[in-house]
């Protein structure tokens, strides 16, 4: 298993899968909006703020784009499965593709001087920047995204 966890993030326990909702879509970027819209509706219902909604939308778009393009290689016969749980204290999402997987450690840091003017390669970095936990599983065919509700003092 290749694990790319955000450095310094505390590792939270995965929730039982039976508490998750699941949506499977064709490998198509327009179809890929369906789980995003459902998850953002749940965020709104749970009263999450604009910044959290922006972060989840951004991370999910990056995960779906990676699944569509790099995982499923734009193959229209493949599918993307999204499992998600939105509660009052946290949001957890798993995005799974049907590709060959990859090693997150092989992806260069797009903020380094030699890579900053490259048009591609910012998706994983953005997920890590905006979420509390980002974990790749199943040889890179699945990514688990977690964000906690910001505690107000």
């Amino acid at each position: 298993m290749n694990v790319g966890r955000q450095q310094g993030a505390s590792e939270s326990e995965s929730r039982p899968l039976n508490t998750f909702k699941e949506i499977t879509v064709d490998n198509d970027l327009t179809e890929a909006k369906r789980p995003e819209e459902a998850i953002l509706r749940d965020l709104s219902a749970h009263g999450y703020d604009e910044n959290t909604t922006f972060a989840i939308k951004l991370a999910l778009e990056e995960a779906m784009t990676n699944a569509f393009r790099h995982g499923n290689q734009c193959d229209p016969d493949k599918r993307i499965t999204v499992r998600y749980s939105v509660t009052d204290d946290r949001i957890e999402i798993q995005v799974c593709d049907e590709g060959e997987g990859f090693c997150p450690g092989d992806v260069p840091d797009p903020t380094e001087p030699g890579y900053i003017d490259r048009p591609h390669g910012r998706g994983i970095m953005l997920m890590r920047a905006y979420l509390d936990e980002v974990e790749f599983c199943s040889k890179g065919c699945s990514v688990r995204l977690v964000k906690f509700r910001k505690q107000t003092p």
Binding site: R41, E50, L58, T65, P110, D117, P119, M125
Partner: protein, 128 residues
């Protein structure tokens, strides 16, 4: 919050829009709404088209853009690379705080200067 936002259900995007205004030595590309994964390729295509007209200054007005993801960012970078072939510049204008944060966290503010207004971006001298 404007009227269209109030009618928009949670999770629904504001439609992505692109408009170009040209003048003798440059162009303003207005990007509006949500630059999401299924439409983001259009941003880079538009900037590259304008760059190929060999106008040295491209101003990217983001004042009415509410969301952008990495394909859209990559499109701006590809436009920047194209305009540099002609010794030109891409300048970002008036991003909202959340878009500005995306530009800062990706360090793209090191590639593109960010201006508060179109007028300031237009009048600032060319670096090259």
């Amino acid at each position: 919050m404007n009227e269209s936002d109030m009618k928009r259900p949670p999770g629904r995007d504001q439609a992505f829009g692109l408009r170009v205004e040209r003048w003798d030595r440059g162009a303003v590309v207005y990007a509006t709404g949500s630059c999401t994964m299924e439409v983001a390729h259009r941003l880079g295509e538009t900037i590259r088209e304008v760059a190929d007209e060999k106008r040295p200054l491209i101003l990217l007005d983001l004042s009415n853009l509410e969301f952008i993801e990495s394909t859209g960012l990559g499109g701006i970078v590809s436009g920047y690379l194209r305009v540099r072939r002609y010794k030109g510049e891409v300048r970002i204008v008036a991003p909202c705080p959340s878009i500005r944060h995306v530009l800062e966290v990706t360090r793209l503010t090191h590639l593109f200067p960010v201006f508060e207004t179109l007028e300031m971006a237009r009048k600032s001298p060319m670096v090259q």
